[in-house]
Symmetry: C5
């Protein structure tokens, strides 16, 4: 459940803008990486302290501050003050249960995304909140500090100077980060697709209560996914169509492209939901089918042996005067009758297509 409701209650009653970290694990330290570049130059450094980031606020070159770890309240506060972030933005960066959203504060845009990854061990989808601050000439990205991210290829592209990224502004960098996050959803989709395939195959072969729990688990994953991806559509749509001066015209075409990808992801999720619902129907009717089959076996057995046992019982009675018992051919005759009854019943079942 902790994936669906975080311990927001810690915060109840505190004044707005109070910085409280509500995530569950506190990694060791906050790591800030600075990438500063323009078409000609490129600098990369680890900021030992948060103060090292301050001089980059007013440079003309594009600066990307990547803050990995949001548990250190002091760091966020100092950075927020230097870059003029609203107290509510600082609060939201720490609250890692935000839904994806876009807020326009005039000087900068505040974007919340969910970076998803597939946990191989538990088979669950893990989510990490990424907050982006897009200013005139800088982008600050806040990650929760979990292992790994999806921004490696972007760093490489900046370092190597390939593609458009070094020739364009901070808005293109922000687009690239969003694009990387959305692209990673396709990997999740493929994993989900495989799970759906496996479940479907198992459903046809040998449905079992485990299949049912598999379907249930898959459904829960999709509820979780939808919650992370649906609002994104609105966010990117607002970025593309919005009138913020921070987004330049050529970048909008690229945003439209990410928008299309988001819709594709959403449609795929909906397709999966439809299919999983269909699988539940199949599971339930395969249960009924099996019950039918078992019942038929029982009915055939009972219908076959009950009359025979009754016949045997009749000639097991101890009446003094039972003329059949004296007949020399009585026993074989009864055996013959029994065979006839059994065979005609089997023929009846055959006609009824019971086996």
């Amino acid at each position: 459940m902790s994936r669906y409701v975080k311990k927001r209650s810690k915060k109840a009653g505190l004044p707005p803008g109070t910085l409280v970290y509500i995530g569950d694990r506190k990694p060791d330290g906050v790591k800030i990486t600075i990438l500063d570049y323009n078409e000609a130059d490129f600098h990369e450094m680890d900021a030992g302290t948060v103060e090292a980031c301050f001089p980059f606020r007013d440079t003309l070159s594009v600066t990307w501050l990547d803050v990995d770890g949001t548990h250190d309240i002091e760091t966020i506060r100092k950075l927020g003050e230097c870059y003029g972030l609203h107290p509510l933005v600082q609060e939201d960066i720490l609250n890692t249960d935000q839904r994806p959203k876009l807020e326009d504060y005039g000087d900068y845009l505040y974007i919340v995304l969910k970076m998803l990854s597939h946990d191989e061990r538990s088979g669950e989808i893990r989510s990490e909140q990424v907050s982006l601050i897009l200013g005139r000439s800088f982008v600050i990205s806040f990650q929760e500090g979990k292992e790994g991210d999806v921004f490696g290829p972007i760093r490489d592209r900046i370092r190597s100077g390939k593609g458009r990224i070094r020739k364009t502004g901070a808005d293109f960098l922000a687009y690239s980060l969003i694009d990387a996050v959305v692209d990673s959803y396709f990997v999740i989709m493929e994993k989900l697709g495989e799970s759906v395939d496996i479940l479907e195959e198992r459903l046809v072969d040998r449905p079992s209560p485990e299949t049912l729990h598999g379907i249930h688990a898959l459904k829960k994953e999709m509820i979780f996914l939808r919650k992370s991806v649906w609002p994104l559509r609105e966010v990117i749509g607002a970025l593309e169509r919005g009138d913020s001066g921070l987004i330049q015209e050529p970048t909008r075409a690229y945003l439209r492209d990410v928008y299309d990808h988001t819709i594709q992801v959403i449609e795929t999720i909906e397709t999966f939901r439809d299919m999983v619902t269909g699988m539940l129907d199949i599971y339930l009717s395969s249960l009924s089918n099996r019950l039918n089959e078992v019942m038929k076996v029982l009915t055939i057995i009972a219908t076959l042996f009950m009359p025979l046992t009754f016949l045997a019982g009749v000639y097991g009675m101890n009446f003094r005067r039972m003329p059949e018992l004296e007949w020399p051919w009585g026993y074989p005759a009864v055996l013959g009758i029994m065979c006839t009854v059994a065979i005609s019943m089997l023929a009846y079942f055959k006609k009824k297509k019971w086996f």
Copy 2:
């Protein structure tokens, strides 16, 4: 049911604006607390009579009148007259079955909220209506007079002068009250999340009719919750985007924040609904599964013993001429045949994976 339909019928036929209290319990007395403050000064007092509140109407400092108990019609009427409240507003304050709403009367805004709390004994969610009147320099809050509220921390913040609250106007106070109400929903969400978790666990371990009633009860709580929370979204959205002069620009950013929280609460409720629906499916198919299992046991037993009993019956017949009965090895032979039949049937069931 009383949570869903209140005794509105008492009112049928009365002229509009007639004040009738429709709540079910009448607490002892109405308690009015006055908090009057600006950045420098702060006064707090218990108003013995309603008349003690009148002088605060025209002060320049921010005044918060907290009326605890709406059963005393006369108090509401007098206060309403002094502060110029429309008769319909007075009526709505008494009708504690309002849905959350916002009404703009020009000079003041009328806001209805639902304060929710989790009743530990019955496990149900209890609701208390909070009516807010936001004027130029005052906020009047009406509570139903049930035990406890969620405004304690706000009082403390006003007393101590910490945070922004003393430096800002009545609109920020109103925002703070709304924020406190919405924050308290997260506590309810966590309680619900726990209930969902417990039910889900029990569903997997040992589904029983009690589980079903648990699911049903949970569903009813959610229907109740939705009714209280859904309209709030519209209310806060209208406050944020509205053009009422009573809301100042800096407060809108804070309202947008509460708006986000409301959406988060709504999405969580919807997520829970989806999960509870899924649990019902699981419950139903676990019933089918168990039926299947029971039927298999029955079928195995019947299939095993019916032919054997029949065989025993055959050799229990009293025909005079039954040559097998005379054979010295007749009895062991029949026992042998019986064993063979039983074993081959068990092998057949094994192959069919029936056990």
Copy 3:
């Protein structure tokens, strides 16, 4: 079904504006009551003939013509001609299967409402169409002529001159009539709420096919209610926001109040629908539960006695050489074996938690 489809087919092919009465019962006579009032004066009279109503068309005081019975085509036609009603309006007054609607004919508004009442005998909800014509200084209300209406308190208020009604215009009178109709819905809601409560209790205690039919009947009532109430929301919304000069500004606040009530009624219906749907699920799974229980009893009995009967059958065989039969302790030994088998089976079922 007659509640859902009225005999419209009588009308197929007739030119539009042809007056045909499609209701099912024709009460004895049409009764027209005239109430004419302003702040100072008040007249009430029974109009013997329709012509008695004509002089009130042009008075400055507010006139309320309450026409009880719509089966007399001639009356409607004459009244319609005198007050300038469009032929289609006259037709719609007679067609008592209209859905609630608002039509603006410039000089007057035509409003259709459904007055609902709970029929104690059949337990069904009965509907009566109320058509309102709101002119500059008059309101004409047409009722189907069934027993009773909900306008008694309004008549009393006009007679006594209490409240705002005598001080205001025809629009406030129309509002009061609509308000009375909507208030009466709350009575229906309470009745429905009780039915839901009773059904729910019975569902938990002893579900039976009657419970199912109760649920079905309740569902049908709700489908019927929805059809009557849903369109009302739009009607009152249009009245409140509309730009008809016939509605004065102060009345709009009152209309907004009725609008809220309508939404409350709609939400309650939806809540009931959700609950009734949930009850159906419970009923179905309680059926499955009971089947499970019955099957378990059957399986326990069969599993217990089949092996024992088989054992008894074995020693009932008549083979000449069955050494066990000769043993002095054979009989008690077999009885002992039988007990052991029975007890170990019961232990097995106990372990499986079958009883």
Copy 4:
């Protein structure tokens, strides 16, 4: 299925505007009836050839060309050319699987309707496409040429000169035709209502697989109906609110009336759908109920006789030393025990309310 998908594939690959008739049956000949009228004069004639229609294009009086049979491509083409119909309109007149729609070509409006009739023999609803061309002073109606139509009363009204129709223009004639089509839907609704009633009664009395197929057939009829009626709402709404100069102001009030009727039809269909869905639920749970009942009978019988048979079996064993067999009161005692067991079991079932 042919009602749902017509042989459109004949047309795949042909250039747009190619005239191909896709209906299934070709009636003998095309019959064109000309009605030309104004307030004073009236002419009615059968047009032998299509050329006979041409002179009426430019008369000032209102002309109604009723073309019965759309299989003769040449006729449509010539008429289309003379009256200036767009090739796509000519194509759509022939394609009798159009959904209801309205197209504004400036000089004329093109309206597609579905005329429904109830086929007594098959119990199915039959559909015939009616295309209307509304020009400045003419209306052309194209019917598929099936037997019968619903326009008889309109012809009579034109002939007799009663009502408004002879005093008004072509737009009122078009309205009258649409109104006649929509009015005929009410007849279908009543037939459907009767079917629902009959099915519901049978469901309560004696549900059988035939009931299920009845429900299924009804559902299919409704899917078919919805497809024909839903788009009509939009069509008439667009006619009423549209800004085409071909519709005069007084006619709009009449169109609003048809619009209301359409909504009434749609709501009735939705009500039926809800009820049929509810009937399916009832059917399914009545099946479960019956299964429960059958199972109870089986369980009672088995529980009653299995222990008794076992007892009889015990005393049928052939052990040499079975002291009970020697007792003089052994037999009556066993019979007594058997009775006691049977009676106490029946009492137990009675207590469990199994019968």
Copy 5:
């Protein structure tokens, strides 16, 4: 599953506009066909190399470049550069998992469609992406290079000069291509309709688990179809209503026609979905019905023979003193009692309508 999720993950991390082919099979070569025509002239040729297409960019006559095969990245890149296609468009042409969409790049429109065909062998619907570039005087169409397309008749019409196509511009050509694609959907619809018919017939005759899997497969086809067709509605609607200068006025009427066809396809899919859902209900209740029938047989057999076997057992007991056994008419009397019991039970079942 591969139909639902393509291997997008190959692309994760690459800069936007990187050309990567994600389809699954690589046909041998790319084939480019050039058709250049105006009302008077017509040229058709196979372009050996991509460079052969360049001169046609600036001709005044209409040019249709049909590129069959999108796996050769270099060809797309060169063509894209010459005709000024945005890198994202080039990327999307290669990504064959696009959803249908329309993008307006000012100088040209980029349209994505899905060409569907029914694979006779697997019974599945196959999809091929068609990308159209509509410029001032040229149309470029990109197909995935699978066997066959639906554009043959258009080529023939251009060659022969019949119809409007040679007299009109590139926009009409683009319309014709879209129209051909949408027309081909009707063929798919007919195939689906046949499948629905067959399944429905089989459902009534002899429902089996195969029927269930057939329903499931059909449902999956429809989910797939919807994904391909739904967005098309928006695409063509935007084309028709859009303000792009590339679409001339007379073509809009034709686009409205295709728009209607798309809606017809969508409605047919929805109709099928409704019917398939109904079939699932029928299947499930036919299962229950059959279970009921089997259970009845079992119950009849058991109820008939259990009392008889019990009776036989009683008189098979070995008590020394059983007076009935000595009676001369004991045996016939017991046989008579047995017959009476059996006949009265059968009569009871007859009355209960169990067979």
